[in-house]
Every structure is written in structure tokens, then in C-alpha cells.
């Protein structure tokens, strides 16, 4: 790719696997627990974080030379909160139904550790273009995990995907349920997300032993 140098491309590709924000950096766990009971919510959250982190990283990067280091965390918080509130208000005025869908996520986006983490670790030290790529890469890496977790929790917990019943009807016992299969209610409560994330981490580290810290 001519557009991206090898170094730039790694900003996008690394967080998808070997430097994943959730499974390796262990950031953004709170929202991965909270909203992955169904696939649709996972997708909405992934897209929202993509927007906020992409733009937020650029804004912070542009301001990096004038932000006083003593109050940088507060400044970062203000930037992300302002961005989210602006988007929320504009959607409420011009795309009301969409804003209803997103309203629950507003608080979760502002307090998402990935956003603060990338501002702090990357955008404060790098130029806008690289920060933008880093934001996109990290939110994609975050989104992938969210979608994997959402997929398994919704499938095993409710027997549906995007609300569409793929395994049959659990009440009138059709499809797979006719054979005695039952939905696992445990999957829809938040601790199940930790177990799924744990399994992903296990698989990832057993495939790539360089990720295992020796102690």
C-alpha cells in the first residue's frame, strides 16, 4: 500500500491481534462486560468507539504541545466528553431515533479506558495522522473482541443472533431445542463475558507464546 508505510500499517494491524487493547492491554473490560449480552449492542458500541477514538486521538494529538502535563488527564476527559455530548445533542436534534439507540452508550464511551489509555499512551506523543491510525486500529481491535464475545453470549444465552432465532424456539421446543438443548442463562449475565474473554486470551497466548510474561 502506497498510502501507508509499513510502520503506519502496523498501527492498525497490531491492535487487532498481538497488541489487542482488551486481551493484551486489558483496557475497556468494563464495557466488554456491560453490553455484550447481544450482538447488536456490541456492533453499535464498536462503531461508536471507532468514531470517538479516531477523532479524539487527532484532537489530542493536535493539542499535545500546548497541554500542561499537570492537568492532562482532565483535559483529555473534557475533550472526549465534549465530543460525545456534541454528537449526542446533534443526533437528538436531527436523528432522534438513532440517538435513542445510542443514549445508553454515551456514558460508557466517555468512561471507556481504551479512549483515555490511547490519548495518554499514544496521541500525546505522536502526530495527528499516526494518532488517527492508532485510534482506528485500537477501536477495531476492541470491536473485534466485543463482537466475538457478543456472538457467543447471544448465541449460547438466548439462542439468537441480532435478535433472530437461529436455534429454534425455546418455548415451543422447535429446532435444536427439540433435542433437549437449553439456553444457558449464565451466558447473559456479565461474568460470562469475563470467561469468554479469558478463553480468547488463553487461545491467543497458546498460539503465540511470546505474549506470555515470564515471572
Amino acid at each position: 500500500m502506497a498510502l501507508l508505510t509499513k510502520k503506519d500499517a502496523s498501527l492498525i494491524l497490531d491492535p487487532l491481534a498481538d497488541n489487542n487493547p482488551i486481551t493484551i492491554q486489558v483496557l475497556g473490560i468494563c464495557s466488554a462486560l456491560a453490553i455484550t449480552a447481544e450482538l447488536q449492542a456490541s456492533v453499535v458500541m464498536a462503531i461508536s468507539v471507532l468514531f470517538v477514538l479516531g477523532i479524539g486521538n487527532v484532537v489530542i494529538s493536535l493539542m499535545r504541545n500546548i497541554i500542561p502535563s499537570k492537568i492532562r488527564i482532565i483535559v483529555q476527559l473534557i475533550v472526549v466528553a465534549t465530543l460525545v455530548i456534541i454528537v449526542d445533542q446533534v443526533l437528538k436534534a436531527f436523528a432522534y431515533e438513532l440517538s435513542k439507540t445510542l443514549s445508553v452508550f454515551v456514558g460508557l464511551i466517555i468512561t471507556n479506558c481504551i479512549i483515555m489509555g490511547r490519548f495518554e499512551a499514544f496521541a500525546l506523543a505522536n502526530g495527528p495522522w499516526r494518532s488517527f491510525l492508532d485510534g482506528i486500529g485500537n477501536s477495531l481491535g476492541y470491536g473485534i473482541i466485543l463482537i466475538i464475545v457478543g456472538f457467543f453470549r447471544e448465541l449460547l444465552g438466548s439462542g439468537t443472533l441480532f435478535g433472530f432465532p437461529v436455534l429454534g424456539n425455546p418455548i415451543s421446543k422447535t429446532g435444536l431445542y427439540a433435542t433437549g438443548y437449553e439456553n444457558n442463562g449464565f451466558m447473559i449475565i456479565p461474568p460470562a463475558a469475563l470467561i469468554v474473554v479469558g478463553i480468547i486470551i488463553w487461545i491467543q497466548r497458546s498460539r503465540n507464546t511470546a505474549l506470555i510474561e515470564d515471572n
Binding site: Q40, P68, I71, V90, A93, F105, E154, G163, G185
Partner: protein, 249 residues
């Protein structure tokens, strides 16, 4: 020119400028959009009230679709025949009653004032609907809704919404399968205004028993479900004097 960003004076100036800039931007945005947002909220209320009495664009299983915003004002005045405000024994007609803020009324009631209770009377194909607005507490934030009753106190339809319930769990109170369960249930237990409880383990997941004052609960959303139960029973209790006057015994 390099700026010394470590100096205290710089930090203070930066913070002040930032607060002023962000404050101005947000205040400007809020005041310029507030009318549009209020209008959207007003239309949404009309859509919700019509939804509860079964006037909606639901197609097929699982869809929750309102009358489009462009048409809702016309449909609202067509189907909602009367809007009442009940204040103690005094009942007044007011076609802006649907704009009454239930939260403010609850606060007023706490301060010893008489609560204004809005009630909407709808008419669809000759049958009358008495629609009660409700407001209560979910797990994280407020939940609210509308319940449409006939003159025998049987639920004809409900609409629920929430501010911040967990997606996939408590947020499912606004799903069709949950709301549809309420239709046909009576809010009366004998002659008592009992409401409808969101019950776990009632051995009736298909909700075939319509006279048990119970619907099947949502898995993983106990507190939101209890909030819905409490909201319905509190609301019908507040309206029970009026409802007694129109009830066909």
C-alpha cells in the same frame, strides 16, 4: 517560540481558556438545538401514546415501529378524543395534558401539593381506551411508559421505555415480546387495583393465563422487571378513584 507548559500560571490560564471555550460551545449548541430536541420529544410522546393503544406501524414479529413523525400530529388528534388532568376530585380537559412532566409532578406531590395526573382517552373503531402515563425506576435510571386500558380494566397495550438500562438485559423491556405479554391482562385482582407483576418462575412462559396479574420476567433483568411491576401498580393506584368511575362492573 517554545511555551513553558510546566509553569503554574500557564496551567491556570490554559484551564480557564479551555473551560470558557468548551462552555461556550456547549451552551451555544444546547440553546440552538433545544427547540428542535423539545419538538422531537413532544412527537415521541404522541407516538408512544398511540403505540400503547395499538396505533403503530408494527410489521411482523418483533418489530416496534411508530407512526412516522410527519403524520403523528394528525393521527394523535384523530384518535385521542380527550385529554384530562385529574387533580384530586377536580377533572379538567386540556389538550396539552400529554406534555405534563411526571417527574415534576412527583416532586410537587412530595412537597405537599396536589399532583396533576394526566389521562388520555382514545377511540379506535368505536372502542374506548384509557391511557395512563407511568414513570418509575429501573436498575440504572428512570423507566417510563404508557398503559392503555379498556373500561373493564383489561390492558389493551403498553409501551415501555428507559433511560439507561443494560442493553440485552433490562433494555429488553421495550421489546415486542415483553410488551405484548401485557395485552389481555387485567390490572384488577378481584376489585383491588393490583397492577401486573413481572414474575419469575410463574410456569407460564407463553403467558396463557391472563387473569393472574402476572407476566413472564426477563432473564438477567430482575431489578428492571421489579421496577416495571412497581411502576404499574403505583400508577394504577394513583388513578384508581377515576378508574372506578368509568369501570363497567
Amino acid at each position: 517560540m517554545a511555551i513553558n507548559t510546566e509553569k503554574n500560571s500557564y496551567t491556570v490560564i490554559f484551564a480557564s481558556v479551555m473551560v470558557v471555550v468548551v462552555g461556550t460551545v456547549l451552551a451555544f449548541l444546547a440553546s440552538s438545538l433545544s427547540e428542535k430536541i423539545k419538538e422531537n420529544e413532544r412527537l415521541e410522546k404522541q407516538q408512544n401514546i398511540l403505540y400503547a393503544m395499538g396505533i403503530n406501524k408494527n410489521e411482523g414479529e418483533g418489530s416496534v415501529s411508530f407512526i412516522p413523525t410527519e403524520e403523528v400530529a394528525g393521527e394523535f388528534s384523530k384518535y385521542i378524543k380527550e385529554q384530562l388532568i385529574i387533580e384530586g376530585d377536580k377533572i379538567t380537559k386540556d389538550d396539552q395534558a400529554y406534555l405534563i412532566d411526571l417527574k415534576k409532578q412527583a416532586t410537587a406531590a412530595k412537597n405537599g401539593e396536589t399532583r396533576k395526573l394526566p389521562l388520555f382517552i382514545g377511540d379506535k373503531d368505536g372502542s374506548k381506551f384509557y391511557i395512563i402515563p407511568m414513570r418509575g425506576k429501573g436498575l440504572w435510571d428512570a423507566i417510563w411508559g404508557f398503559v392503555a386500558l379498556d373500561d373493564r380494566m383489561v390492558v389493551q397495550g403498553v409501551y415501555f421505555d428507559h433511560a439507561a438500562e443494560t442493553p440485552g438485559l433490562g433494555a429488553n423491556i421495550k421489546q415486542r415480546y415483553f410488551m405484548d405479554d401485557f395485552s389481555g391482562e387485567s390490572i384488577l385482582a378481584g376489585t383491588k387495583y393490583a397492577g401486573i407483576a413481572v414474575a419469575k418462575g410463574n410456569n407460564d412462559p407463553l403467558n396463557q393465563t391472563k387473569d393472574d396479574n402476572e407476566v413472564d420476567a426477563l432473564a438477567g433483568a430482575t431489578i428492571t422487571g421489579n421496577g416495571v411491576s412497581a411502576m404499574i401498580s403505583e400508577s394504577v393506584t394513583m388513578y384508581k378513584d377515576y378508574l372506578e368511575t368509568i369501570r363497567v362492573k
